[in-house]
């Protein structure tokens, strides 16, 4: 009995009972499709999130006040002087640019349209650090800073809310908390709003903001964005920033009263979360594959009982134990292999539809069907067929010819 014959015979006997074979395959199809789709959605989510984190800028460090792990007494806030110290190339040579930020929320109005948005007081370097492009106008300049000019750069979403358009906005006067501000620029969309609204912002000069919009004592600031010279120097820059701040805050001994986060830390955290999500979804999908496998076992047991006489006859004319075993194992593995292949196609389709639905609802999110997932699903489904086929096949192979021939 060679291999191709065994396969041909298995296909013959499976197609003799098309309805039953189809329904049995359905279990595997659904299982495999679920696994493929879930892994694709997981991979897509991961890409989307890490993509939007890297969209913030490149080689970034974020410095916050306070320590998230330990209790610290007498926390000192971050100030403009801290930011200036970090920007000093002698104290922190691995730092390329520093952008201190104060942030808050404010009501912005224009011609009767009102929007609640997050406003940020920034320095000119903020554009560099965040990789912002402008679609029109200019960014906040040193002159604006010195003059405490009432000027603003709008994010595209905010422009949509206030003006209903994204061009010809420069020169318009809007009111922020009742005070008039002139629009001098419009940011290009950053997209990927998985991480809050990157496009629904109003940027104003730091000096103006602290004086008029967000009152702060002693030049307190909320976050300092620090850009490292290059990707290799990120951890070096992180060390230097921490050292500078320890000196200034006099916390050389004891716990730091600030936190330095790198972009990679965020990416790593996000990846951990999406990995857990993927494993969770994949696990649930794997259970349905398991149930499909039990379906195969069930049907193969029925098939063995139904074909007891045939098995008896095959044994009578010389089939060995192994021949019968191979015959039934081939049937069950083919069943699950075909189911697996169809399931891969269906899973691909589901992933595609999920991507379309996500795109339609405004979340750019592309599910990714990886080759790994396909190989895994094929292997796994065939293995399920083999495993769950083993018991029925063994039962068939172990039948006594005399008993089997007498079976009605």
């Amino acid at each position: 009995m060679n291999f191709t014959q065994a396969i041909r015979e298995a296909i013959e006997s499976l197609s003799a009972n098309k309805m039953r074979s189809g329904l049995t395959m359905l279990g595997i199809i659904i299982g495999v499709a679920a696994v493929i789709a879930m892994l694709a959605v997981g991979a897509g989510a991961q890409n989307s999130i890490t993509g939007s984190i890297s969209g913030i800028g490149s080689n970034l460090l974020f410095v916050f006040s306070g320590n998230m792990q330990e209790q610290v007494r007498n926390e000192k806030p971050l100030t403009m002087d801290d930011a200036n110290a970090i920007a000093d190339p002698f104290q922190a040579p691995s730092v390329a640019a520093v952008a201190p930020v104060v942030q808050g929320n404010a009501e912005v109005t224009f011609a009767g349209e009102t929007a609640n948005t997050s406003i940020m007081g920034v320095t000119p370097d903020y554009q560099l650090v965040r990789n912002y492009e402008l679609t029109e106008g200019v960014f906040i300049s040193e002159d604006d800073m010195l003059a405490r000019a009432s000027v603003a750069v709008l994010g595209p979403d905010l422009a949509d809310k206030l003006f209903g358009r994204r061009d010809g906005i420069v020169g318009e006067i809007i009111r922020v908390e009742g005070q008039p501000f002139r629009v001098i620029g419009l940011l290009q969309s950053k997209g990927g709003s998985t991480f809050g609204s990157q496009d629904d912002v109003l940027l104003a000069p730091m000096t103006t903001t602290t004086a008029r919009l967000i009152r702060r004592t002693r030049e307190r600031i909320d976050v300092i964005y620090v850009q490292a010279v290059n990707a290799d120097q990120v951890s070096q820059a992180s060390e230097e920033v921490a050292e500078v701040l320890r000196q200034r805050h006099r916390t050389l001994l004891g716990e730091d009263d600030f936190t330095v986060f790198s972009q990679q830390d965020f990416v790593a955290t996000a990846q951990t979360i999406t990995n857990v999500l993927t494993i969770f979804l994949g696990g649930i999908a794997a259970i349905s594959l398991l149930v499909g496998g039990i379906g195969i076992m069930n049907i193969m047991l029925v098939s063995v009982t139904e074909r007891t006489r045939e098995i008896g006859l095959r044994k009578a004319i010389g089939a060995r134990r192994r021949d019968i075993l191979i015959q039934f194992l081939t049937e069950s593995s083919l069943l699950s292999l075909f189911g697996g292949l169809i399931g891969i196609g269906l899973g691909y389709l589901i992933a595609f539809i999920v991507g379309r639905v996500a795109a339609a609802s405004g979340t750019p999110f592309v599910p990714q069907v990886s080759l790994d997932a396909i190989l895994l699903a094929t292997l796994f489904s065939t293995a399920v067929g083999l495993f769950f086929g083993l018991y029925p096949a063994n039962r068939a192979a172990g039948l006594e010819p005399v008993e089997a021939l007498r079976y009605e």
Binding site: M1, A16, L313, I317, G318, A319, R320, R321
Partner: protein
């Protein structure tokens, strides 16, 4: 008298089944010899051990004790796979209910024993010749469901003969056929014996069938009655 031309030599065969608490002695010291080229009928009332005898002679089952030589080979102590190989090479079965695979053609049915023997070269030709020999040259590609009962039994006989077995073991070969095709099948079996010299054992309780054979072996209470030839 272990003549070299004894295809079957069974010595003091016993077979004991355990049914619940009771031991049932289906065979109780049965001995017999069948020679090459003979046509023999095995008869006996139901419960006599006739079926058990047939199963052991056909290597489907092993005796509890005693020795059984088939074609000079001691087969009573072989394991399952070895028995399968002996059945494949030396025994051709013809069943009352034909036992053909309904999904495959007559040719594929006849090829089956050759497949299990691992023969690939000339397999189709040998199967075709066997079908021609039983008079089904024009039904080679028909499925069993498209054939009459008599034709199906001819396919079964072709399948039994395709491996050139040492003996053909037929269990009530005409039991499921009408009298006309039953007669034809008996004629075919007897012709095959004459032309090919195949040893044939027919298990039956029909005296008319037994009368057409050269010798009748009667089984009674698990023992072989004195052969008629010695009477």
């Amino acid at each position: 008298m272990s003549a070299p031309d004894a295809v079957i030599r069974a010595v003091e065969l016993t077979k004991t089944y355990r049914m619940g608490e009771v031991d049932v002695h289906a065979l109780n010291g049965a001995s017999l010899e069948i020679y090459r080229g003979e046509v023999v009928a095995i008869t006996g009332p139901s419960g006599s051990g006739k079926s058990t005898m047939m199963n052991i002679l056909g290597c489907l089952d092993r005796p509890t004790s005693g020795e059984y030589y088939l074609d000079g080979e001691l087969v009573s102590s072989l394991n399952d796979d070895q028995l399968a190989s002996v059945r494949n090479r030396k025994v051709g079965f013809v069943f009352q209910s034909f036992n053909l695979l309904s999904r495959t053609t007559a040719l594929a049915n006849v090829e089956l024993p050759l497949r299990y023997a691992g023969i690939t070269k000339g397999r189709t030709d040998r199967a075709r010749q066997a079908l021609v020999a039983v008079g089904l040259a024009n039904r080679i590609h028909h499925r069993p469901t498209e054939l009459s009962g008599g034709q199906q039994q001819r396919v079964a006989i072709a399948r039994a003969l395709v491996n050139d077995p040492a003996m053909l073991l037929a269990d009530e070969p005409t039991g499921n056929l009408d009298s006309h095709s039953g007669k034809e099948i008996m004629e075919l079996i007897l012709t095959l014996n004459k032309e090919r010299g195949t040893t044939i054992i027919i298990v039956t309780h029909d005296p008319a069938i037994a009368a057409q054979t050269q010798r009748t072996i009667r089984i009674m209470d698990g023992k072989v009655e004195q052969p008629e030839a010695a009477r």
